[in-house]
């Protein structure tokens, strides 16, 4: 029932896109690099790019949806991939415009990019990392996880996942354990380092959300590490 509804809305989204944009749907790559700033907190692209909170985006064009080994995708995107969804300009336009309208169960906590020109620019930028590897520009990977001044000793703490599971009760009142996004972002399957960095940013009030500042504010380093250890491969 839900499956049928999902593929129907997928088909509807695709047909709208087919009418709305040119076959290529690509704009200005240089402008797209700036648009990509919005994506950097979760996605890397470029030489050495790795899966972080989101999958890396090298070789994205032509990739099957949920097509990277070793990344925990949502069931929703896995189903779409199994049903034959591939990432091309048209499908990416539709997905990025409104991720949850396109794939209702996606864990991508992103409201969507409404401006078709900005989307076209972004896709042009990403397209540059999807040719044969030899064509990938010699740029640094867009890593943001290292963009912090957290004491390496804090990052080195080995978290206790069982304690993390207990503490996670405080998170799952709002953040759904299965990674569903309904107005509150997913924190499921985050890499430990990103999780620890984000929580310390709330604790130190560098990130601004009052609920998260309060929750993180009274977790000690060990407890944050425990939560990160639990959420990185939460058993769902």
């Amino acid at each position: 029932m839900r499956l049928a509804a999902a593929s129907l809305s997928l088909a509807a989204a695709l047909s709208i896109v087919a009418v709305g944009v040119s076959a290529q749907g690509l704009g200005d790559a240089a402008a797209g690099e700036k648009v990509f700033d919005e994506c950097k907190a979760c996605h890397q692209v470029g030489p050495g790019a790795r899966n972080r909170i989101g999958p890396h985006l090298n070789g994205l064009f032509g990739r099957k949806a949920a097509g990277l080994e070793g990344f925990h995708y949502s069931d929703s995107l896995r189903r779409a991939g199994t049903n034959g969804l591939e990432w091309h300009a048209d499908t990416l336009h539709a997905y990025i415009e409104n991720p949850r309208a396109f794939a209702s169960g996606t864990r991508m906590s992103y409201r969507g990019l409404k401006d078709p020109e900005e989307r076209a620019d972004l896709l042009a930028y990403l397209r540059g990392y999807s040719d044969a590897p030899i064509d990938i520009p010699e740029a640094d990977p867009t890593a943001t996880a290292t963009d912090h001044d957290l004491d390496p000793a804090i990052l080195a703490i080995v978290g206790d996942p069982e304690y993390g599971e207990y503490l996670s009760g405080e998170c799952t009142t709002c953040h759904q354990a299965d990674g569903n996004v309904d107005g509150i972002p997913s924190i499921t399957y985050w890499p430990e380092e990103d999780f620890v960095v984000a929580m310390h940013a709330y604790k130190n009030k560098q990130r601004s959300h009052p609920v998260m500042q309060m929750i993180a504010g009274r977790l000690n380093d060990e407890e944050i590490a425990a939560l990160a250890a639990y959420f990185k491969d939460i058993g769902n």
Binding site: L167, T173, I184, V211, G217, D221
Partner: protein, 422 residues
């Protein structure tokens, strides 16, 4: 420092396990009975069943087959939700291994350790968790009793009462008066009456713009008062009038037949009268003999009652200290309790209690506000550690984000209570 704690936890857990395991193996599977399938009870039942993986038998006793959440029931009144959106069934809990019994618990024998049900059955327990929510204090509002709840609905237990109040709101004559008798402290959902006023005003503004809302409030102050009063002035100018105890609202009387509300002897004719009486712990807590006055005093570390270490009380019914009576609080307390109960029965690791609460309220379309705090267990009570509240004068963008966040929280907490398939 941090390592010390982990070492300590590890050692004590290993020790407990070593001591407890042989005993546990020697006897039958331990039994937990949970009474009340709301934010406290459903969460506790699910967590104990899920985390013990069959090592504990968990039975949940809940009379209704569809549970309507009190949280977001005001949004139903305002037309932001359908009644189905706030109704949830218990299939997800059953799938998590909880034995769900739809019946009324009518008695507890703490010596024999049994719970008796209206249907005649008797359920034995090793640990009993009561999460019965609230009942109303007899005679709290002169002229009103539970037999008058159709003429003057409380709608403070969601479901048919919410539907009735909404029907009455929609049937109000143009220019009519919606009256609310607000409850004295402490009561379920401190911002609830005032969010309700906001939602009623939202409906009336569009459908009955000359109508009035009159609140008779026995309290000097109320939750998020600055935020609500700012919102009422901005969105519903002149529609809402609140009378406080300084003008006699601690002395009210109603007549459900004549549809009148008397405030300090001055009689008003009203078209809808939403009476929210003073509250007490759900009756089964009293029948179990664990209440002292209107509420059940509990130990902050594990939510066990002061009266009996094998009987726990969660949520609205508990007298625990600083936490407000809210679904979020009950859900938070349930997880602390579940961890402690599991540890006591199977020797699993017990971690220190941590509690949190956040209450979102909707004032008008995309105008959400919130208040929250974190808490810790002290010898004496659940004590507040830190908190925050939305500011007056926030931008429309912030308020919209707050509302969207409340939608996310709702989806999150019902998944946490009932399991993902609810």
């Amino acid at each position: 420092m941090a390592l010390d704690r982990r070492t300590f936890l590890g050692t004590s857990a290993a020790l407990t396990a070593a001591l407890a395991a042989p005993m546990v193996r020697a006897q039958a599977t331990p039994r937990v009975v949970v009474v009340g399938g709301g934010a406290g009870g459903a969460t506790a039942a699910r967590y104990i069943a899920k985390d013990s993986e069959g090592a504990i038998d968990v039975t949940l006793v809940e009379p209704t087959r569809t549970y309507y959440t009190c949280f977001f029931s005001n949004l139903y009144l305002g037309g932001f939700k359908e009644i189905e959106d706030i109704g949830h069934t218990y299939g997800g809990l059953a799938a998590n291994g909880v034995n769900v019994v739809h019946d009324w618990a009518i008695g507890v024998d703490r010596d024999a350790r049994t719970v008796s049900l209206a249907g005649g059955a008797s359920l034995p327990y090793d640990k009993l968790i009561l999460s019965p929510g609230i009942d109303f204090v007899d005679g709290a509002v002169p002229g009103w009793d539970i037999s008058a709840q159709n003429a003057m609905p409380h709608a403070y237990k969601a479901g048919s009462q919410s539907e009735l109040l909404k029907a009455q709101l929609m049937a109000m004559p143009q220019g009519g008066t919606y009256a609310m008798v607000a409850p004295p402290n402490p009561f379920r959902c401190p911002p609830g009456p005032y969010e309700r006023v906001s939602m009623v005003a939202h409906y009336l503004k569009a459908n009955n713009p000359t109508a009035k809302i009159l609140i008779a409030d026995p309290k000097e102050k109320f939750s998020k008062q600055g935020l609500f009063e700012e919102g009422w002035a901005n969105h519903y100018g002149g529609m809402v009038e609140r009378v406080g105890p300084d003008f006699g609202a601690d002395n009210v009387e109603v007549d459900p037949t004549a549809m009148t509300l008397s405030i300090d002897g001055v009689v008003e004719n009203v078209d809808v009268c939403n009476v929210i009486p003073a509250m007490k712990a759900g009756r089964i807590a009293e029948l179990a003999g664990v209440t002292d006055g209107r509420w059940a005093p509990v130990n902050a570390a594990d939510m066990s009652t002061k009266a009996d270490p094998d009987v726990y009380v969660l949520g609205d019914a508990a007298q625990q200290g600083d936490m407000p009576k809210s679904g979020f609080s009950a859900n938070s307390q349930a997880k602390v309790c579940a961890n402690a109960v599991r540890g006591a029965l199977t020797g699993s690791r017990v971690f220190p209690a941590k509690f949190a609460n956040t209450c979102w309220s909707l004032i008008e379309t995309n105008d959400g506000v919130k208040v929250g705090a974190t808490y810790e267990a002290t010898e004496e009570k659940i004590a507040k550690v830190d908190g925050f509240i939305s500011a007056t004068g926030e931008s429309a963008e912030v308020r919209k984000a707050t509302y969207e966040e409340s939608e996310g929280w709702y989806a999150g907490i019902v998944a946490d209570m009932f399991g993902a398939s609810a």
